[in-house]
């Protein structure tokens, strides 16, 4: 027997969820579907290819208030801020589920743990939503993710007929399933069959785009002319990095008001011209060429060397939103097409 959430009970499912959790879900707002905290199940939608913003915003928020400090009687008192609460993020697509694992490695592995991130991860239950019809910008399969991949979800929903087939993947997922158990019906559905159907869905772009050997090829392409060719059209904005579910660069800054203040950790973008500008004015990445190269080398080479995976899940947001088509797909194609022996002629 498999648990199934009937389509008609979706709103109730969200409502019951809200009894115990705060809810983050896809909401259509002024023509875009954004993931945002909502208290209104009626506002939640499921008819989206993907949300314009990614779930990383709720684990690695754009602005993290790390601690407060206050000067009193000549001393400075520091008060750490901790994130509390139980949260459910609903409707996360497989590509974005996969992205969480990629950021996890950055913030979890190694000598230091990123407690702010981990606190949110531990206290958030992720409800995945398999994709019934991948879009023209989707290329998850390039990175081994399928429209049905549940990895990263605590509880996965597979749209099936008049409802959602439920797969519980973790304890957190189990807890949510229990919270909403009255709404979940046991039906005679073959979960493996349903999953197989989603995994086998065609992802036209991804199916034709191979990333095999790209990382190794890029080892020798730091000075390759491809960067000078690709980068001039970059606007230097932060759309790609801020929408990307896997980009995770940040800067830190203090906001001070009189004798008190907060330390903020804010997203930053390697595409901004001041990202690496030093106090003295020197910038080791002075032009768009260095900055564009950095972003793609990080995703397709540096990260691979450190963690063994590509830092991209093929969500297609850069394809959809980059105003000048400086996309992961375009870059992978360029790298695939370029001869490795070429060396920079303009250096």
């Amino acid at each position: 027997m498999t648990k199934v959430l009937p389509q008609g009970k979706l709103k109730d499912f969200l409502k019951d969820t809200m009894d115990k959790y705060s809810l983050v879900a896809p909401v259509r707002e002024d023509g875009v579907v954004v993931l945002k905290p909502t208290a209104d199940p009626e506002a939640v939608v499921t008819d989206y290819l993907n949300t314009v913003t990614s779930p990383k915003d709720f684990f690695f928020p754009q602005t993290e208030r790390m601690f407060r400090f206050q000067k009193t009687e000549g001393k400075i008192r520091v008060e750490e801020t901790t994130w509390q609460g139980k949260r459910v993020i609903f409707g996360v697509r497989p590509c974005d589920l996969g992205s969480l694992e990629l950021i996890d490695r950055v913030f979890q592995e190694g000598e230091y743990e990123e407690t702010y991130y981990l606190a949110r991860r531990e206290n958030t239950t992720v409800v995945g939503l398999a994709c019934s019809s991948p879009g023209p910008t989707c290329f998850c399969t390039t990175f081994g993710i399928t429209p049905g991949s549940p990895e990263g979800a605590d509880l996965m929903l597979y749209p099936d007929g008049e409802g959602f087939v439920v797969e519980v993947l973790t304890e957190k997922g189990e807890a949510l399933a229990q919270q909403t158990e009255t709404l979940l019906e046991d039906q005679d559905v073959d979960l493996a069959e349903v999953k197989g159907r989603f995994e086998g869905l065609k992802v036209p772009l991804g199916d034709h785009l191979s990333v095999d050997g790209v990382a190794a090829k890029l080892d020798g392409m730091f000075e390759h002319p491809v960067w000078a060719e690709l980068s001039p059209r970059c606007l230097g904005c932060g759309i790609c990095t801020y929408l990307c579910p896997t980009c995770h660069c940040f800067g830190m800054t203090d906001e001070v008001r009189g004798d008190q203040g907060v330390r903020l950790r804010c997203w930053d973008s390697c595409q901004f011209s001041d990202f690496t500008r030093m106090a003295g004015g020197h910038n080791p990445r002075p032009t768009k060429k260095e900055r564009v190269r950095q972003r793609f080398m990080h995703k397709l080479n540096y990260y691979v060397h450190r963690f063994g995976r590509y830092l991209c899940t093929g969500c297609g947001r850069c394809l959809e939103k980059c105003p000048v088509g400086l996309t992961m797909v375009h870059v992978i194609e360029k790298v695939n097409d370029s001869g490795t022996r070429e060396v920079a002629v303009n250096e």
Partner: protein, 318 residues
């Protein structure tokens, strides 16, 4: 527009060959028909990859700012709106006319990718203009829609179907004249709302803002060498994203382009989260027109509206 492709190829190849220009900025094919992307040609061989259709929205003249330091002559393809953007850069003394070679492109309107994708999500092959209508021709068949409804907003009120000036024009000039009067009805409608409603509206928009600065980076009027949002001291804008900072950002951006905005709407077009930036720009343009009698069509002006005054300007501050 497509039909001018071969002439464009010939022209650009010649300009590059005879070294009239050191490189040329035009369009290449993008991920799909509806999203052509900027293309930087350095040799005549590149012309084979040139692309042209009526989705070539991107204003290429802003890229000239990337080449201030050198002495290259940059060729650029410019529609009427792009030429206004170039004029903005020239009026702001950011670009030297002598270092730009303008290939003018007459244009009767660029289609709004978002609007077209709503009715034709994938597989569009071309858009064929038939008078007041267009046929969206795609892999799965044709759709006939009213032309006006699918154009970029700027194209409806475009006063410059032909670029105001150029070094060379592609094809013949087209009949000029805006398709519609400058339309401030959206601004007026918002003005009519109760203040609390308006507040909620803008709060929702600003809360969505990512501060990715795409609006700024694409804007021809935002052409400062160093943007005030990027300086550490004084801190005009905090690094943190919160409603007050977002509002500070949008207020400042709007004021900085007030009276300087060419009305191209690129900011709104590139915004990844659909913030109606033109509703801010147009509000200011409307008030500038009404208060100081400088209509949007006259911008860029020799002296910006906020850099001058009249003794008889309206006064309500007594």
């Amino acid at each position: 527009m497509k039909e001018k492709l071969s002439e464009l190829k010939e022209t650009v190849a010649r300009l590059l060959k005879d070294r009239t220009v050191d490189f040329f900025i035009a369009y290449q094919a993008g991920h799909s028909q509806v999203e052509p992307i900027p293309f930087f040609l350095t040799t005549a061989e590149h012309v084979e990859n040139l692309f042209l259709n009526n989705f070539c929205a991107h204003n290429l003249s802003k890229y000239l700012l990337d080449y201030l330091a050198g002495d290259e002559v940059v060729g650029v393809l410019a529609k009427g709106c792009d030429l206004r953007a170039l004029k903005r850069l020239l009026t702001d003394h950011r670009v030297e006319r002598g270092r730009v070679f303008v290939v003018g492109l007459p244009c009767i309107g660029i289609y709004d990718r978002k609007k077209v994708q709503e009715v034709y999500p994938a597989g569009l092959v071309e858009v064929v203009e038939e008078g007041e209508e267009v046929i969206l021709r795609g892999e799965t068949g044709d759709k006939r829609v009213p032309r006006k409804e699918y154009l970029l907003p700027r194209c409806l009120t475009c006063p410059d179907h032909n670029p105001e000036f150029y070094d060379l024009l592609l094809g013949e000039k087209v009949a000029n004249g805006p398709l519609a009067e400058e339309d401030y009805s959206d601004v007026r409608a918002l003005e009519e709302w109760a203040p609390g409603e308006r507040r909620r509206y803008w709060t929702r928009q600003f809360e969505r803002c990512l501060r990715c600065y795409a609006c700024r980076n694409v804007c021809p009027a935002c052409n400062c060498r160093v943007c005030c949002f990027d300086v550490a001291e004084p801190r005009w804008l905090g690094k943190g994203t919160s409603l007050d900072e977002q509002e500070m950002f949008h207020f400042t951006r709007a004021m900085h382009v007030a009276g300087r905005c060419t009305g191209c709407g690129e900011c709104e077009r590139v915004c990844p989260v659909n913030i109606p930036l033109m509703k801010l720009n147009k509000k200011l343009a409307k008030d500038i027109g009404a208060l100081f009698h400088v209509p949007q069509a006259e911008i860029p002006t020799e002296v910006e509206p906020l850099g001058q005054f009249r003794l008889g300007d309206p006064d309500e501050f007594n």
